[in-house]
Symmetry: C2
Amino acid sequence: MTSYYSKHPQFYVAVDCIIFGFNKDGLSLLLLKRNMEPFYGAWSLMGGFVQNNESVDDAAKRVLHEYTGLDHVYMEQVGTFGAVNREPDERVISVAYYALLNINDYDKKCVEEHNGYWAKINALPSLLFDHQEMVEKAREMMKQKASCAPIGFNLLPELFTLTQLQNLYEAIYGCPIDKRNFRKKVAEMSFIEQTDLIDKISSRRGARLYKFNNNIYSQSLKFKL
Amino acid sequence: MTSYYSKHPQFYVAVDCIIFGFNKDGLSLLLLKRNMEPFYGAWSLMGGFVQNNESVDDAAKRVLHEYTGLDHVYMEQVGTFGAVNREPDERVISVAYYALLNINDYDKKCVEEHNGYWAKINALPSLLFDHQEMVEKAREMMKQKASCAPIGFNLLPELFTLTQLQNLYEAIYGCPIDKRNFRKKVAEMSFIEQTDLIDKISSRRGARLYKFNNNIYSQSLKFKL
DNA sequence: TCAAAAGTGTTAATAGTACACCCATGA
DNA sequence: TCATGGGTGTACTATTAACACTTTTGA
């Protein structure tokens, strides 16, 4: 019975992470300028190989942790890239994931050591292998998901202004949004809660700070079912 | 440099196909009642192992062809299932795909030989490993895709009545659709073309036959961009 | 003549879009 | 006092949802 399996070939399986961050400059990706062989000096996604003792999902979490120091980050599988020659030297099947993180939270030393840099999403360098294609698919999926689930909050600090929130969605959708219509819609979402706090950094007048309440969101889902 | 790769483990990589079909009884899946070891007698998806000379996508096409005799079938990747113990005897990482085919077209001899059976989607037997989970994700993705792209026609014969089309979408969405609203919407879709033909099989009165025009659909996409 | 499926419009409700000015503040 | 970003409401348009009867025909 072992022969049922053993007559088939085996493959290196990698994970690659498309790591989104957001700040006043818009959406960025955390990329690696490789500081070791092979492909020294090339830009790539942060990746690694799946090991025997971990699921593929866990490998993605581990890799994200190794490069950013972060745990409990929102991640989604983008898909598997399995062209025969997608890496020139060896056949590697790679599973891509996207991650959404607050650009202020990551471990800066850890990222520096690995030669990680934030690159604005609309001005990415050219990337190794099929990483460009992975990024495009990840952006598409993230946009789609953001339009029907409150995942954007993973990219914001706990407290945020409505202008920040609007800028985020404009960056995700890649188009401008009418301010009054946006605020009207937000006001209808009970899971986006006003706080008593005012942000005085980004404007003279000061802007009301809001926060995302995941409990209320989860409750509101139940009523829909 | 070879050591960059060789210090990492390798894995069997499989593909599993969630094969949708549609007829008057609704949506069905083409399943396998295994007629060989291991897992003799168990119900499973149609699957196989990725080989050295083929991409993962090509492996899925090959497996579909082996079991149904069909080529050029609409397929989409569902995702990769990589839990450590998802198969009890060996570690296998599996990439799931869904396929949409016309239930009248497949090679019946070929399916019989492999012990394949159509099972109604709302009355599936319990399946091997995590195949149940794959099916659920595939249904969800197929529903999502069907709501924004005309993939349903892959499940219908070339000529179909509006009642068939409505029944199909009711089966995909899992809820009833108002007949007049549905027909109004279809009438606005220039890529669903009336023919001169009347189907006299499914009703005494006879029902107009329609067909999907992919050229018109592709054109209409361009104007949106 | 009747059972069975085909075909057909109108109205109300909801959601989405377009649009321009005043406010509060610190420099 | 003025430059900067914060905040607000209304009218129009498009989309969606609800709803019931007549037609045709073969058995």
